[in-house]
Symmetry: C2
Subunit: 279 residues, 2 copies
């Protein structure tokens, strides 16, 4: 019965950052999960073909591939490099059968304070990428990021802003990642989730904890350890019609120090307690 209730839970690989792909897969299967979110770096470690094979053998779905994006460079050669790298990421997502390729927008280039310009370059880069992705059946997922990362990682700061970009393209080609850590504070986020509707390509969860850990990149918490109301947020996502996987993505040094299986057991428990009843 618990197995059934875990049927939409996915482990984002980065939640067990020190695990190899094989170890992450094993942790999912032992805990009864049927889905995994994979990262390009650990996939590259074993090689794309071997990674695809491991995943196929495991029977797991791939809820997302992390990550493409980083679209904000302004130098022409860097723009071109980013485009080519994103094409490679799209190829990998297609090969792995990932439900979406997560696009992290990118931050301000060093010494560049033109936020509007950086945001405009994100739109241009996505526009250029859409034909390549759609030909390969890969759905792009724009990830709006908590403003804490606006300078150095993600210049798209709200779900509303991400949807304004996604709306330029057909929903089957470009969607949005709805992540509790990034969006829980957004005024009117429930209306934006409703607006997103079938553009929600991934629902990612982790908690906002305080005091915020010193390294902002590792500042996410286990669901239930922080301030986010997963019940109301999840109900909004469900009401918008989302039927995909719920991916737990937690960057946290304390968690990374724990045995993988313990991490997956804990997040499964928290998911059953705080999230699953509201889906």
């Amino acid at each position: 019965m618990t197995g059934d209730r875990l049927s939409r839970l996915s482990l984002n690989q980065r939640t067990v950052a020190n695990a190899t792909l094989a170890e992450a897969i094993e942790a999912c299967r032992s805990a009864g999960l049927t889905s995994i979110g994979v990262w390009r770096e650990p996939v590259a470690e074993v090689g794309l073909d071997r990674a695809a094979e491991l995943i196929k053998e495991s029977g797991l779905r791939v809820s997302s591939l992390c990550r493409g994006g980083f679209f904000t460079a302004s130098a022409p050669e860097a723009v071109e490099q980013a485009h080519l790298d994103n094409r490679a990421a799209i190829d990998e997502a297609a090969r792995l059968g990932a439900a979406t390729l997560c696009l992290v927008p990118g931050g301000l280039p060093a010494g560049d304070r033109d936020l509007a310009g950086a945001r405009a370059r994100v739109v241009e880069a996505i526009e250029r990428l859409v034909p390549y992705a759609s030909e390969r059946g890969v759905r792009l997922g724009i990830e709006p990021m908590n403003p804490i990362y606006a300078a150095d990682r993600g210049v798209i700061s709200t779900l509303g802003q991400a949807l304004d970009i996604a709306d330029r393209f057909p929903a089957e080609h470009v969607g949005v990642i709805v992540d509790t850590f990034h969006l829980w504070w957004e005024p009117g986020v429930e209306e934006q989730i409703a607006r997103a509707a079938d553009r929600i390509v991934s629902y990612q969860i982790s908690d906002w904890i305080t005091p915020l850990p010193p390294d902002t990149l590792l500042a996410r918490g286990m669901m239930g350890d922080g301030h986010i109301d997963f019940a109301s947020f999840t109900r909004a996502v469900a009401a918008a019609g989302y039927q995909g996987d719920v991916e737990v993505e937690i960057f946290n040094a304390d968690l990374w120090a724990q045995p993988y299986q313990q991490v997956v057991d804990t997040l499964s428990e928290r998911y059953l307690q705080l999230v699953q009843p509201h889906l």
Copy 2:
């Protein structure tokens, strides 16, 4: 000539957190500033009457009093306590002739994850406070705060959201604090600044620096040290018709370790270079 160009620059006392009120006043006067933003705690240290006297003797304007607010408690006695404390803050603002009383919204009460509820209590608390403030000629300033503080300090996260609250009241009674650190990332912030118009009761400046210092409460940087484009932000504030003081409010441990006069000299230089030409 520099003196003239500094005529709208104000030192928020918290930028020289270790200075007494008398020392902060002296640092302003030595640098040619004609305005100061004061905090209740150092005012209380010398006593309200003595503080009012010191400020009057100095000839400085009081650009703001920090701070009232912290409106999000839910227990009735805590709500009442906050109301009484805010009445006291209004009395102090009136006595000091402050251009506005800054209202920090407050975070989520311990263990409370109902963000919408906390936001609603902010509105209720302000509504209850307006008659008292307006009778005493004190203009309330709602401070929207960077989402990094949404859980523990300020549940009002955007200028748009602050204006939705302020709009319920006459502009001469309730305005908004426009602070670069809090708002620089907000999509559409220039339109919101234009919308704010005569509701801008204070323009506060500091920079967003990365990597973010470990203590998020002390994470602000000197203008020019970070990622904010002060030119375009300041032009938007000027275009909205704001003619008040520009208050430098930087919470930063490194800065607090420097001699007061050096801090005020540096911020004066940066202001002349990055902000004043765009006013």
